[in-house]
Structure formats: C-alpha cells, structure tokens
Subunit: 360 residues, 2 copies
C-alpha cells in the first residue's frame, strides 16, 4: 500500500485531473500534474506541475523520479510516453495495453469481440477508396469515425446515404477510420468500475446517459435497465478489466437494445464524465476509487446513497450557477476554467433525491 | 455573490486551511494561503501561497490586492493584520470584532454574559498577586488559563488546592490569565453554525465532544442532548453570531449540566474540529459552508445524513490508516503533514452508521 505523503503523478491537467487531485489530497497524497497545456485547472490545486510536451524525455524522466505511481485522466497518452515512464522505473496505471486498446477504435472493437462482448458491426476504412466497400458491408445509415483521438463527438460524421461518403471522409480529416453500423438502441448505459492489482473489482451501478451533439448531457440513476441487463453489463466490464489487467477506474458504454441485450460501444481507461454522480451520491467517489486502486489501497464501497441526475454545464450554461447553488438538492462542481467556450465542459451538478423516489 | 474564478484569501496554512481550500476548489474558486509557517499542508493544494509574517505590511498589501475576500482558519490573527487588510480594501470575514472577542478569554466570557448566555464563573488574573484573591472568589478546583493564544489544552493549569497556585502561574508562563470555576458538567456539546452577511443563519445539529489531555478526541452524532437543550444551544449560538455580525462558520462549545442547562465554554470564529463530521455525514460540509458564507452565496442545507463518530488521529495514531481505509464504514481524511509529532493532529476519520442506529 502506497503511504500517505507519497506523490501520485497524473497525466493530463483538465477537470478529471483536478478532481483526482482533490481526492488524492483528502487521502494525504500529493499530486504532480503533467500537462502539455499551459492553463491547467488541475495544476492550480496540485502540489506540483510539469508543463511540457508528452515527447519531452528529460521532463518525463524528472517527472518519473518525483512520483511514486502514475495514473491518467485521458486515454490518448502517446505509447512512447508510457514507455518512457515505465523505462524510468515508475508504474503507469492503467498500463500500456489498456491505453493502446482504448486509443484505437478498431483495436478496441476487436478486443471486445475477442472476449465475446457484443459490439456494433464495423468495418475498417484505411483510405477513402475503402469507404464504398465498407458502406456496402455495413449499410447506411452508419457513422464514420476517426480511428484515433476522437472525443465528445469530434472526428465523427454520420452517413445517411452513400452519396455523403466523400463529405464524411473530408469531415473527419481523411484519417484512418472505422465505419460503424447505427445500432437500433433504446438508450445507453455506462458501467464505471475499479480494479486493483490484486484482482479486486467493484462496479458502480450503471447510469443512463443522454447525449446531445455527441457530448454527454446527463447521467441518470437509477438507469431503469432490467436487472439481467445490468448484471450482464457489469460482467462484461469485469471481463474487459481482467483481460487488460487493468488497475484504476475504467468506464464501458453500452447500447441497450429492445429486449435488454447489450452492445458495447466504447471504453475509457480512466474516470469518466458519466461517473461524476458518484462524488455526490456514492459512498466513494470514482476519483477516490481511482486513487485507491493505483495506490494499492482496498477499493471503497460503491453503494449508491441517492437517486441522482448528473447534468453537465457546457459553455455558457455555467452562468446558471447562482440558481444552482441556491437549490438545496443540488451538489455543484465547477472546474475553475478561466475561459468559457462553446462546447467546453465548465462544470457539472448532481441533483439528489431520496433513494427510490426516481431521479430529481 | 462572488463569482467562480475569484480568489479567496485564507489566513493560516494548516489542516483547516487545507480543507477550506479543497472545498473552495470544488466551487470553482482559487485559494491564496497566507501563512507564517514554512511547511504548510494548505499551500500544497492552493493556487497561491504567501509565506510571510503577519506583521509584514508589504506582503499583506500584496495579498490584499490578489484576493477578493479573506477568511481565516485560526482565531489568533493579530488585530493589526486584520486592520491592514481592511485598510487595503479587502473584506475580512469574520471581522475584527469576532476575532478580538475570540482571542481573549476574558472578553469572550464578558461578551457571553452581555448577551445573557450563561458561562462558567470566572475571575480576571492580571498578575500573580491577584491569583489568591481569585481563588477565594472562584474556589478550588479551578482552571487557570492564559487569556490569549491557548489551544488544545495549551496554556492551561488545573488548581486543585490553593497551594498549587504558584506552580500553575509558572506553568502558563506568567501571562495575563483567567481563573475559571470547574463546571460540574455531564458532557460537552458544540454547535457549528454559519451566518451570512444578509443575516441568514444555519446551525448543524450539535455533536457531543470527548476530550483527552485537553485535545478533542472524538465528536459523536447524535449527541443525545434533550431537544430543549439542543434548541437552547442553537439559540445562544445564533445570538452570539448576530451580536458579532458574524460572516462565516463559527463554533460554540457548551457544557451540559444535570437537567440539561447549558454553560457556554468558548467559541471559535472559524470552522472547527468538532464539525469535521459534516464532510462525511452532512449535506454540506462546514468547509463548503464557510466558503459559501464569505462568498455571499446562499448557505447550503445542514441536514445530517448518517449517525457518525468523528475520531481524531493524533500523533502516531495516524499509523492506523491501513486498517481504516479497509473499513467500508470509515471516511478518512489525512492532512498531508510531513512530520508526525506527539499531540499533532495528523488526520481524522468519521465512522458512519445509518440514521437512527446510534453512532458506529
């Protein structure tokens, strides 16, 4: 077990890194943020921060010397960054396999399939010339997504008719891609779960996610999924975590089909927006849970204490804070970002209601 | 209402300042810690820190320019420090009257009396020569306390027989003192409450405090005090807060006598150790509540969600952390202090039990 007073290195300096830092502080740990972005919400609450490129070997070596373990707030950590840290003798949790799998939509879907976890039908599109054949295989409507570096709906284009193929290819920037069938899903749920190096596993109850314009709008607990669906989602998440020898918190999103069957959509090898409700309504927040897992501490209880709706504050929506803080059922979390931009996640709030009353 | 992104200045850099900083961060505020101690647990999580004497006018002026409001984690802020900040145009909350009253045990007790709040019998002891007369008035056993700068049982000496007077005087360092009668109390409770500039007031349910060697050992909720006693304690606390035009969180300790009558013992014009349970078992933590009050935000709900026992981790007791983090009923908070010393508060934990089940 990592001793209090140790330093936890965190790759990335956004709101997830900030919330990890605050959770680490309560347990007596210092955080050291490594970010390539000058203005970092996480760095402002961390004991130390390094502002450098993820390709800066000297900065990575100094960071590795200063920290006792490394975790991450984002999946797109370059493979060579993780390798450099591991070579410098520090543990990176989650490890290189989990990061590489989550970075590449094709690898990720093949990995799901290899475990017997159903996913949407997909085809690899390495070049524009392959798109027509992929569309014949998958059919329209379908979604063309860049294989790598997509988030919050970025790097995606919907293809309703085959004659939109060229425009879609241009929209995602002509990068290697995946074409995914549109699943006829009723709703989406996500399982946020933690796994320790000793194999201990704890899944929070899945929440129901509502997206708008590709960005998570809200997460609702309880999700209203049938018990068998919930159990299957947790089983699949555990299978995924074990196959990756995962250490930390991960999130797997699932489409729920009519009848309750599941299709895995994607995974995030880190704390996740759809788990933010755990800070206000869970016995242990996902941020504390991630710190516990990477510090080899026992996982905390994942009991849900309230019915809850977590709502993101995107762009100018953050200006609603005066009404939110006046509402006694609302637990507000603002990220301290200096600049409000359209589409930027500025904060979130969780509206609480007594257990069993339905989300507030 | 102070806008998120503003900077809250905090006088003092210990664990209370650290917990205030963490609470401020969640609401989108930066904290700027002002401390005269080199190693500060609070500074390690704050956006900014000034390490300077409380008499350093230049440092105070720069601090005042950087912050939007000032609050404090300790009562012994020198009067001229508060004056310098106020003169520099920044609001200090709580204000000079509350600080001056809480700094001086004689002023404090006279203030209680002026409000009709019963307190223990006491006599002023300005010099050693006055001690014998004071002992005749108050009777033995009694407690001799330095008028100023005492905390955690420091600056106190018990006098069981009059012939111990000289030793007691020496023990408290020969400073101006107060002699207090030993109240025949059954137990102690404390009210932690918040007041806003607009007069809004919210008191947490009082906890029962157990001291050992002058240091708070644990706080237990529910306290088991009769409803009328609880109501009277909250009424007295409100009276005190209003008379001081208090803005922020304060704590008033009361002795409960047989039959349920109360004697006010002392007050703290700040968040208080006996309110730490609110972080784990309250709808709003006392730290968030203090930030809300000084930022002119509405006070949060003070509902208690669990039965709870908050236990301090003093000195080497902090080494019990591995067992504590493995207990799912325990909510642990470690202060990140670098050095473990006897009597030093290193952390605390709150053991939770369902409401109505009695403290765990």
């Amino acid at each position: 077990m990592l001793k209090p007073g140790s330093t936890i290195g965190i790759l990335g300096g956004g709101q997830l890194g900030r919330m990890l830092t605050l959770a680490a502080a309560r347990l007596g740990f210092d955080a050291h943020i490594y970010t390539d972005v000058a203005e970092s919400p996480a760095a402002r609450v961390a004991a130390k921060a390094t502002h450098a490129s993820f390709a800066d070997d000297a900065a990575l070596a100094a960071f590795a010397r200063d920290v006792d373990v490394v975790t991450t707030e984002f999946e797109n950590v370059p493979a060579r960054t993780a390798e450099a840290l591991i070579a410098a003798g520090v543990q990176v949790r989650p490890g290189a396999l989990a990061l590489a799998t989550a970075q590449d939509r094709i690898l990720e879907k093949r990995f799901f399939e290899s475990l017997g976890v159903d996913t949407v039908r997909f085809a690899e599109v390495g070049a524009e010339a392959e798109l027509a054949a992929a569309l014949r295989t998958i059919g329209a409507p379908a979604i063309l997504k860049a294989r790598r570096m997509g988030y919050d709906g970025k790097g995606q284009a919907r293809i309703t008719h085959t004659d939109q193929a060229g425009a879609a290819w241009a929209r995602i920037g002509g990068a290697p891609a995946i074409l995914e069938a549109m699943a006829p899903f009723q709703y989406e749920i996500s399982v946020v779960a933690a796994r320790s190096a000793d194999g201990a596993f704890a899944a929070y109850e899945p929440g129901r996610n509502v997206h708008e314009d590709g960005i998570l709008r809200r997460t609702i607990l309880p999700a209203g999924a049938p018990p068998a669906t919930r159990a299957e989602a947790e089983r699949a998440t555990r299978k995924i975590a074990e196959a990756l020898d995962f250490v930390g918190v991960l999130c797997v999103e699932f489409f729920v089909l009519e009848g309750g069957a599941l299709l895995a959509n994607e995974m995030a090898p880190r704390v996740h927006n759809s788990g933010h409700w755990t800070e206000a309504a869970g016995a242990t927040s996902q941020f504390e849970q991630n710190i516990r897992a990477v510090a080899d501490w026992p996982l905390g209880p994942v009991t849900r204490l309230f019915d809850a709706t977590m709502e993101n504050l995107i762009g100018e929506e953050v200006e609603s804070w005066p009404a939110l803080v006046a509402d006694p059922a609302v637990h507000l979390h603002l990220y301290g970002k200096r600049e409000t931009r359209p589409g930027r996640k500025m904060g979130h709030y969780t509206r609480l209601a007594p257990l069993g009353s339905g989300p507030g």
